[in-house]
């Protein structure tokens, strides 16, 4: 902006400048404390009082910590924390407001001007830098084609060296890297469906029409290892619908029993538990992202971001009337992944392997 020396337009008879002139810094009006010693004294007292507030706050915080007893009652715990917090508040705010009030009333408020310098280095500095780099390159032989082998091998070594550290590190961080574990759960043929979390088995007669059970596999609670990992895959919702409302997908005619169906509770979107059941509409809703599945129609998606239906667990009734699994799920439960279809099977492999997948 060339506002200081205004070129005047040539055609114009009157000398009207092309652009306005910077009026310069505005007039600085002194504050009361600058001219009135009484106001200055008053401001000083105010600042001192604010610092005093801070000292009181520190006493409150330390006093609350030392004097107040914390019992097991939530209220008393809250009270102690609140009093310490209020003490810290006063201790901090007193210093803060005091310092700012000091600056605003008693320290300089007449703005000063400082010139900026262009960030670009001077031509001499630039030339010097380039010369130094050239000299350095000359000394090392880089860039003048005297040492291509050294440069080549040196760079290769530098690029490869991180692998020596990273490869073993990363290699160890993924345990056994056996991602085919995504493909199966601990459900086996004949395994009872039990209540979450106590693990008591469920009789078909317990499941009345319209009711829903949160289910874990029998024996999950007794697992020594990977209990949470297995639970994260194996949780199931057990529901009974009026058989007349139930549309059974082809090939799954014997997967349910008299309107009782079992579906994986893990959302096929990104894996939240699909825990909300709306009895009237037979809809299962995932509270995380609201994928909605219609249980009366093979748990297919009726709304939301999920694409695939919830996997169904084939069930049967054992001799004592308890509900049992016929096999593992016939497809991986939960969110999709690149090789998901490779882990999708006819459900037979799961019956052969034993116990936990680890």
């Amino acid at each position: 902006m060339s506002t200081t020396e205004n070129p005047t337009s040539h055609e114009s008879e009157h000398t009207t400048p092309e652009s306005f002139e910077d009026p310069g810094l505005p007039y600085h009006r002194p504050r009361r404390a600058d001219v009135d010693p009484k106001a200055e004294k008053k401001a000083e007292r105010q600042v001192a009082a604010l610092f005093g507030v801070s000292i009181v706050g520190t006493i409150v915080a330390v006093g609350a910590y030392m004097a107040l007893d914390m019992t097991d009652e939530i209220d008393s715990i809250r009270f102690v924390n609140m009093m310490i917090g209020l003490g810290i508040f006063l201790a901090m705010i007193g210093i803060g407001f005091g310092a700012i009030h000091w600056a605003k009333t008693l320290m300089r408020d007449h703005e000063m001007v400082e010139e900026r310098h262009e960030l670009r280095s001077s031509e001499e500095a630039r030339a010097g830098a380039i010369q130094n780099l050239k000299d350095g390159a000359e000394d090392s032989g880089i860039g003048v084609k005297r040492r291509p082998v050294l440069v080549g091998t040196g760079l290769s070594a530098l690029l490869l060296a991180p692998l020596a550290v990273l490869w073993p590190q990363i290699g160890n961080m993924g345990a056994d890297w056996n991602t085919s574990n995504f493909g199966h759960t601990m459900w086996r043929k004949g395994m009872r469906l039990t209540r979450d979390p106590d693990g008591t088995p469920i009789k078909a007669s317990d499941v009345t029409i319209g009711s829903a059970f949160h289910v874990i596999p029998e024996g999950l609670n007794e697992l020594e290892h990977h209990k949470i990992e297995e639970k994260a895959k194996a949780v199931v919702l057990l529901l009974r619908l009026d058989p007349r409302d139930l549309k059974i997908p082809e090939g799954r005619e014997d997967w349910s029993f008299d309107g009782i169906v079992a579906y994986s509770k893990i959302c096929t979107h990104v894996g939240c538990p699909v825990a909300l059941y709306e009895q009237q509409t037979h809809h299962l809703l995932c509270p995380c992202h609201q994928s909605t599945f219609d249980v009366s129609d093979g748990a297919k998606v009726v709304f939301g971001p999920a694409k695939r239906p919830l996997p169904q667990l084939p069930i049967a009734i054992d001799d004592e009337g308890y509900i049992v699994a016929q096999s593992d799920f016939h497809e991986p439960i939960g969110p999709s992944y690149w090789t998901r279809l490779k882990d999708t099977s006819d459900g037979m492999h799961a019956d052969d392997s034993e116990g936990s997948s680890h």
């Binding site: 910077d22 939530i74 310092a99 300089r108 960030l119 990992e229």
Partner: protein, 540 residues
């Protein structure tokens, strides 16, 4: 006594200077000038809440046990008696209920984390709308942008540490998103979790990330950010005597030492007050992580809501017929997850990070800019900014759609349908309306400069005409309204030269010209003295 103190101080200063040559630094720093404006405090809030995070965080590490080993709860909280939980969760309960002031420190830490991210985003918006990212500050914009991303990482990793049901489900969502990455997703998931979700190693890993890696990076980048602020000297708003070649303000010592130093204590005090009174993240109500339960109305911390909203917004089936998850050659590609969780944030943040270069390139403006733009004087940039914010806000609202639906008795599904359309329409509208408003405000500025302020005083002239008296602006007021750059759209060489031969690179030039026109075609030029003289002449 004063003399003795002075001698001692001089002695100490001499001792230090002879070993560090610190005198030069003090000379450089002590009277450095900083311009004054309330909006310059937003970045300070971010810095100070980070300091509060460090202070309270150190206290928390004294009690937190980053372990996923399962223990049975045996503390004072009756509702959790005998419940199986990880040591991480148990130690969180311990520090909340058995350590006096522990709950307070947790709440101070959590509130300052929310404030930290909020202050960063607001500061970033200030820098964007005033054009403070322009040359020579593009690199510092990038440093600040990286700090913003790191603050999200710091927030999310800390949020997950207590190992409660809410944060556990959040981690499971992360796992689901990770898996959706083509080819390597499954392995990245195994790499992060040390095997299958949730595994037994994640909390210790997140802990190291949260207390060492991320804050270490933040510290380094904060130092770089501030170094560049000092190097560039602070920007200033337009006003009399403020030029691109100077800085007008008050000295660091003592004015800003007191003001900015005092402001740290104010920020700390306010956080302490909020933390003393308002409960946040009461993990004891949620319970320890268990893969089975989840409650309705689950919301992540505010800064993650936009990703959650994007995940909710994306349909699994487009118009109920086109699947958004594709299966081909035996592989699965989940666009219903990849698009909202990775592609969309990638584009959004990528655009934001590169904006200084995009604008400089589109406008061809290459000079050093130290006087800030008033947002109305850059209508297109302001429009883009508001469009980005509206886009972000729609995602945040979709991330809270269940709460909105509940509060206003709306259908959850209708809300989602509305936002699915809104995400395409509203940002465009926001851009258009904002640009119109900015141009309108520029016109109003011209009006003010030409005709002065309305005074509300009506006078009757001798010939019976009534007229309101307008008071001309002062030189200072006028200068603020007229001192901005008036850039004309790019002119390019014609497509064919005089011999009718088509010019190489014409299309590219034409593209640049279009961008330049987008920025500058609909511009309002500042009033010239000549126009003012004419207007004044007309009045008399």
């Amino acid at each position: 006594m004063g003399a003795r103190v002075n001698t001692a101080a001089a002695g100490t200063a001499n001792w230090v200077d002879e070993r560090t040559s610190i005198g030069g630094f003090v000379k450089f720093f002590a009277r450095k000038l900083f311009p004054d404006h309330w909006s310059f405090m937003l970045g300070e809030i971010a810095l100070y809440s980070f300091v509060v995070l460090l202070l309270s965080g150190v206290f928390l590490t004294a009690f937190f046990v980053p372990s996923m080993t399962i223990v049975e709860y045996d503390g004072p909280l009756a509702t959790m008696k005998g419940v199986e939980m990880s040591e991480a969760f148990a130690s969180t309960l311990h520090m909340s209920f058995e350590v006096p002031g522990g709950l307070l420190m947790r709440q101070i830490h959590h509130w300052s984390a929310l404030l930290f991210t909020a202050a960063i985003v607001t500061h970033m918006a200030r820098v964007f709308f005033t054009g403070a990212f322009r040359k020579p500050r593009e690199l510092n914009w990038l440093v600040g942008f990286t700090l913003m991303i790191l603050s999200l990482a710091a927030g999310f990793s800390g949020y997950s540490l207590p190992d409660d049901v809410l944060s556990g489900n959040g981690l499971r969502i992360i796992e689901g998103v990770t898996r959706s990455v083509p080819i390597v997703g499954e392995y990245i998931s195994y790499w992060i979790f040390g095997g299958e979700f949730p595994g037994e190693i994640l909390i210790p890993r997140l802990f190291t990330m949260h207390v060492l890696l991320v804050p270490g990076l933040i510290l380094v980048l904060v130092a770089l950010h501030l170094f560049l602020v000092f190097l560039h000297k602070h920007t200033q708003y337009p006003g009399g005597g403020r030029k691109d070649t100077n800085v007008v303000g008050l000295p660091l010592f003592p004015v800003y030492t007191a003001k900015a130093g005092g402001f740290f204590f104010v920020v700390f005090g306010v956080i302490a007050l909020v933390a003393a009174i308002f409960t946040i993240n009461p993990v004891w109500n949620y319970g320890p992580y268990d893969p089975s339960p989840v409650s309705a109305g689950t919301q992540p911390d505010w800064y993650i809501l936009f990703v959650d909203g994007a995940l909710r917004l994306m349909p699994g089936w487009l118009f109920d017929v086109i699947p958004m998850e594709w299966e081909f050659w035996g592989y699965t590609l989940s666009l219903n997850i990849l698009t909202p969780a990775l592609i969309l944030p990638g584009l959004f943040f990528g655009f934001l990070a590169l904006y200084p270069w995009i604008e400089a390139w589109a406008t061809g403006d290459r000079g050093e800019k130290h006087v800030l733009d008033r947002p109305r004087n850059a209508p297109v940039r302001t429009g883009i900014g508001v469009a980005l914010i509206s886009f972000y806000v729609i995602l945040v609202m979709e991330g809270s759609n269940d709460i909105i639906a509940n509060l206003f008795h709306l259908s959850l599904n209708d809300l989602t349908y509305f936002f699915r359309i809104g995400i395409f329409v509203i940002p465009v509208l926001a851009f258009w309306i904002t640009r119109r408003l900015a141009i309108g405000l520029q016109r109003k500025d011209r009006e003010l400069v030409l005709h002065g302020k309305e005074t509300g005083r009506i006078v009757r002239h001798e010939h019976g005409e009534y007229q309101e008296v307008h008071e001309p602006l002062t030189d200072q007021e006028r200068w603020v309204l007229v001192s901005y750059d008036d850039i004309a759209p790019l002119e390019i060489e014609p497509e064919y030269n005089d011999r009718g031969v088509r010019r190489k690179g014409y299309r590219w030039d034409r593209f640049k010209q279009r961008l330049s026109r987008l920025y500058f075609e609909k511009r309002i030029s500042p009033v010239t003295p000549e126009e003012l003289a004419e207007a004044q002449h007309a009045h008399h």
